[in-house]
């Protein structure tokens, strides 16, 4: 009994349960959106097959069932169970447009690029942002602080896709610094994946504009939060005591102030990951960077429902997994979390 009780009050265990439950709820939600919404895609598709190709209702229905990997004659509850079973096997059905291509194959082609570009961007933006924020806090009231804070406030207020379009217009079109159309896609044709300079250079040049967009649009937020977090920490008693003890300035800056000021930012990090993964639908569409976000935009525009359904689910799962990892990291960095619960 006490073992079970301890398990349930375990921080990591609770997080795992919540992550799994969220995935389950989202999967259920997508199932019912596709099946129950007015003008649901399956009925529309059957109607299309009947009117365009002169199929009989039964034939059209069979083809639709094959596409969605759903048995349409079964009651909704049974369809739901089959859908869930297929999901667990990683079977998302087949694409409408590129007929015969399994959706799971498309996802494994698109997802890595989004994780790559968003991951690198967060790393750059977070590192730069906290550095600038800390400098601003230490030099508060200086010209550097005023300029940084103003720029940061402006950048963090502008929607990221508008920053993307601005970068495209200014760097690509007006100044002509980079060949915008050659940089579309994720990798140049003919370049073979591998751990060599040509490939690495190529993928970075393709991801350059999306990465720049993510970094420019998020760096302001990090700078501002790090600045206020550092200022709060500077007022803490343990910092005063450390100074009184005559500890070296660098030790106080990094081990006492820096580390503690960083902690509250970790929760925003998880929010940010979700936001960027979600916003990738827009950013990747603007630059025609073929990641999962681009796939979402394209599948919605073309009403390719099996792809759309799966891509949405995958984006959500990616966000949940990212959140989960960040949570684990956070509990490692701040042991108080594990004991206190919330």
């Amino acid at each position: 009994m006490s073992k079970i009780k301890r398990l349930f009050s375990n921080y990591i265990f609770l997080r795992v349960i919540r992550a799994i439950l969220t995935v389950f709820i989202v999967a259920t939600l997508t199932f019912f959106i596709v099946r129950l919404m007015p003008g649901n895609p399956i009925e529309i598709y059957i109607g299309q097959l009947m009117s365009q190709y002169g199929m009989s209702f039964q034939d059209a229905k069979n083809q639709a069932a094959a596409l969605f990997s759903i048995d349409l004659d079964a009651p909704l509850s049974k369809q739901y169970i089959i859908y869930m079973r297929n999901l667990l096997r990683g079977d998302f059905g087949v694409s409408f447009l590129s007929q015969g291509t399994p959706v799971s194959l498309m996802i494994s082609a698109y997802l890595p690029w989004t994780i790559f570009s968003v991951g690198i961007s967060i790393l750059i933006s977070f590192t730069l942002g906290i550095t600038l924020g800390m400098i601003s806090a230490y030099k508060r009231g200086s010209i550097f602080d005023h300029i940084m804070s103003t720029i940061a406030a402006i950048l963090s207020a502008i929607p990221n896709y508008l920053i993307g379009i601005l970068l495209l217009i200014i760097i690509g079109v007006q100044l002509g610094l980079i060949p915008v159309s050659a940089m579309r896609g994720t990798v140049s044709p003919g370049v073979k994946p591998g751990f060599n300079w040509i490939f690495i250079k190529d993928i970075f040049s393709h991801a350059l504009l999306p990465i720049m967009t993510y970094v420019v649009s998020t760096i302001g937020g990090w700078t501002l939060s790090m600045k206020s977090s550092t200022l709060n920490t500077l007022g803490e008693d343990y910092v005063t005591v450390a100074k009184a003890r005559g500890l070296p300035e660098s030790r106080i800056t990094f081990a006492y102030v820096g580390r503690n000021a960083l902690l509250p930012l970790f929760t925003s990090l998880t929010m940010q990951m979700g936001f960027l993964m979600g916003g990738s639908a827009l950013i990747e569409s603007i630059f025609v960077y073929k990641g999962i976000g681009w796939a979402l935009g394209a599948s919605i525009a073309q009403r390719d429902y099996p792809v759309m359904q799966a891509v949405f689910l995958i984006i959500t799962i990616a966000v949940i997994v990212a959140n989960f990892i960040a949570d684990l990291l956070y509990s490692k960095l701040d042991p108080r979390i594990k004991i206190g619960g919330e």
Binding site: G279, L282, F312
Partner: protein
């Protein structure tokens, strides 16, 4: 509280205090300017819809303050007439989000126990689902043929973060003496929430409303740019979408055409955020200490 008192507390007092904060004042002036331009401007400047092929992509002049677009139409008239729909949808969506957030957040904090756990659990889950993709997917199913529909969908998905914030606000107010007194007097839950707790959070709710509006502008314009909102009419988002899909952004001379709506939206977002940030500083003196 009497209406006059409420009016004074939400509008007059902040104005007096905000005039002391430079950034907040600039934000407020810009916000007011954009609102006037978008809601009063259209009565004076009519939308230019006449195609004039001899006047394509003109640079700013006395005649056309912001130049002309790819069909020779005046850009300034498009900016003046393009803000109203965006702002109305944002306001409606923000209002819906705030209403849901305030009701659920305060209920959660006040009721506590099991109700609190359930509401917060649901909130956390909705918060984890990436909002923009969900909106985009829903837009594929619901024909967003009118602005009200769009506002409702954005509003119904935008409340979770706000609800969490409201909950912690209520939790802190709940412990104060006058609430304790009201509880001892047995004034009833509804009375305590609506007459004792919420009025003390009015400023906070106004701030939340403006923040929810900026969130709604983000989603709304994003959906329009992706081409997922087929409602006709004219607005800043549509201007960007047209410039993008017709390839105008790849033409050097189109700079004023594409830049104008981008700056309009960016300016609205920036001034709203700056204004609320300084409002926050006013209402939360503790934040100011860290400045």
């Amino acid at each position: 509280m009497k209406a006059k008192e409420i009016l004074r507390r939400i509008f007059i007092e902040p104005l007096i205090i905000i005039s002391r904060d430079k950034a907040g004042l600039i934000g407020f002036i810009f916000l007011l300017f954009i609102l006037l331009l978008s809601f009063v401007g259209p009565y004076f400047i009519k939308l230019d819809t006449e195609v004039k092929l001899d006047k394509i992509y003109q640079f700013p002049s006395k005649e056309h303050i912001l130049g002309t677009d790819n069909q020779g139409r005046d850009i300034f008239s498009q900016i003046v007439n393009g803000g109203r729909d965006v702002i109305i949808v944002a306001f409606l969506a923000g209002l819906i989000s705030t209403l849901i957030a305030v009701s659920l957040g305060s209920l959660s904090a006040y009721a506590g126990g099991f109700t609190d756990t359930v509401i917060m659990f649901i909130t956390e889950i909705i918060l984890t689902i990436p909002q923009f993709p969900l909106l985009a997917v829903l837009a594929a199913f619901v024909r967003l043929t009118n602005p009200t529909m769009l506002a409702f969908i954005i509003g119904f998905l935008g409340w979770p973060a706000l609800a969490r914030a409201i909950r912690s606000q209520v939790l802190s107010i709940k412990e104060r003496d006058y609430i304790e007194a009201a509880r001892v007097l047995d004034l009833g839950r509804i009375h305590i929430i609506f007459s004792e707790i919420l009025p003390n959070m009015l400023s906070y709710i106004v701030i939340s409303l403006i923040m929810a509006m900026t969130g709604a502008v983000y989603s709304q314009v994003g959906l329009i740019i992706l081409g997922l909102v087929p409602f006709y009419g004219h607005n800043w988002g549509l201007m960007i979408q047209l410039a993008w899909t017709r390839g105008a952004i790849f033409y050097k001379g189109s700079i004023f055409y594409i830049l104008s709506p981008i700056i309009a939206i960016a300016l609205f977002q920036w001034s709203a955020v700056t204004f609320t940030r300084s409002l926050e500083g006013i209402f939360n003196p503790r934040l100011r200490a860290g400045e």
